[in-house]
Symmetry: C2
Subunit: 326 residues, 2 copies
């Protein structure tokens, strides 16, 4: 952890209490003057830190910004995801940034956030709307010991972690639309874009790109999306602190990635199925230039959807555009 | 085609006959002086072109170099593969060069050769020995409309094209070891490295990296490879012209890629099976940190190997290190 992360972590740990300058100086192994300089820096970033010579320091309020040190202090304890975190004010696409890291040999678990993306991507090259500070737009670098067909497990794990976080942290009831959409009241609130580089039988790296519409009001969406998209704020009726939400999600992602690594994908799939709006339904799936309809029966071991087609065959679907047939 | 490619193509078309300067000038749409300048340039590259005022020009001999224009003139007529060809004297890895082209949006069919690679790669990050002018080291950019699990079809198609070329062009009897090795007398003479960039359900691009040991003598191999590797020259007892061999192979690759694109993989797989040294054999396959043994029964639609394990299950294997059990 950096010094800033340690200071924020210590102040958070004290809750409403104060931490003396001497204590901070001791814990960080730097002089009280140096501690003071770091606190001034954090204040300039918007952290409201009360400091009195008698009582010491207290964290009164944190700004709604994403700060790498702060995020790292919040996810301290994660096994893999969030070991390194970077925050960009603006980038074309966080997936592109992480792809460069991947090619430079950076270890798995690195996470890149952007406050806004100029060219955020959804699946199949579609645009992903990502206005400044309205949501969480980030990408995670993974280097799983999986074969390429199993990469779908990671999409499912990410969707499961997203659903659990939105349920437990935000008190909302999300549903998952296979393979990668998270819905609230049938409108899309979050999504996962999984990109991979591989040989035929070995994954080099996977990039999980995740977007969550957090504090959008309806007018923040382009007109054509208002009927199909929503945000946590719209559904809950109040805004959410993005840093805490991001940290909660990184913790849940870490947990589900750990399950995949320990070959316990079955447990992830069970939890996923409990949230799933697709299983048991009649669906129409468009795959490239063809379409199949049938009943979504189950996920298989690799995370693919097993569809009982109208002809009675069980077809294994690794991806496509799903529409519920009502 | 470039001017050089057109000149070489025209001279080749005349066989032992001559083509007059006026004819070349007419066909190329440039002045006779300009034709003469190009011929001088080709001579400087080692092409022996006889030119007399009375009879015109005749191609007497071509050097054993790879020349992009020449290769393009030789594969003229291919649908896709070889529409653009580049030749490097030296590069780290032709797959890396093609990857940069892919990311720059270059169309499929581009081919990059190198006379030598400093860091040629085999599967799973292994080194591939590629000394100057002893072999063919090249990579092909493809953008197939396939789902990621079907990428194995392209490895099989490349192996099939390699085997057919070595059989028909070189008069040798190659066998294919699943998934990607071409053998002569049980020693490796060529290999395919398939790399892909993908979303879960859609391939962005595939790079086929192909290496063939052409004119190696035994002493050209590092000592540790002499027992397991061979070359066309060693097996045939004479050297081969690399440009003609390269062109023949690009033509065969184009043919098999066309079959895959027309959803006729079954025909490729049948031809592959006829060359295959793996099917019907008892094999041991190491996949990451586990190993399975059994009888290699067949290829499935996606190009994966169906293995009847010793426990009687039919296991679907997308890749691994195969050893024949004798």
């Amino acid at each position: 952890m950096t010094l800033d992360a340690k200071i924020l972590s210590t102040l958070r740990g004290a809750g409403d209490g104060c931490v003396s300058g001497a204590e901070l100086s001791h814990q960080l192994g730097i002089s009280r003057t140096a501690v003071w300089a770091r606190i001034q820096e954090l204040r300039s970033l918007g952290y409201e830190i009360e400091a009195s010579p008698h009582h010491g320091c207290r964290l009164r309020a944190v700004p709604d910004v994403l700060h790498a040190d702060d995020l790292m202090s919040l996810v301290n304890g994660n096994h893999i995801i969030g070991r390194d975190i970077q925050v960009f004010q603006e980038t074309n696409s966080t997936n592109d940034v992480v792809e460069r890291l991947a090619r430079d040999g950076v270890a798995e678990g690195a996470v890149v956030f952007a406050e806004t993306q100029k060219r955020g991507r959804g699946r199949l090259g579609r645009h992903w709307v990502s206005p400044p500070r309205k949501g969480l737009w980030f990408s995670v670098l993974l280097r799983p010991n999986l074969q390429p067909p199993q990469a779908t497990q990671l999409t499912v794990a990410a969707a499961t972690a997203l659903a659990r976080t939105i349920h437990e942290h935000c008190g909302l009831q999300p549903s998952v639309k296979w393979p990668n959409d998270i819905l609230l009241q049938d409108r899309k609130v979050a999504g996962v874009l999984t990109e991979l580089a591989a040989e035929i039988d070995c994954i080099r790296y996977v990039i999980l790109g995740i977007g969550i519409n957090v504090n959008f009001s309806p007018s923040d969406f382009p007109a054509e999306l208002r009927a199909v998209a929503t945000s946590l704020q719209i559904e809950a009726g109040h805004a959410f602190r993005r840093a805490e939400l991001a940290a909660a999600l990184l913790r849940e992602l870490d947990r589900d990635y750990d399950r995949v690594r320990r070959r316990e994908f079955g447990r992830v799939a069970d939890e996923w199925a409990a949230h799933c709006a697709t299983l048991g339904q009649r669906v129409r799936i468009r795959i490239g230039d063809r379409a199949v309809t049938g009943r979504a029966e189950a996920l298989d071991d690799a995370g693919a959807l097993l569809l009982r087609t109208d002809h009675g065959h069980l077809e294994r679907i690794v991806g496509g555009d799903v529409t519920l047939e009502k």
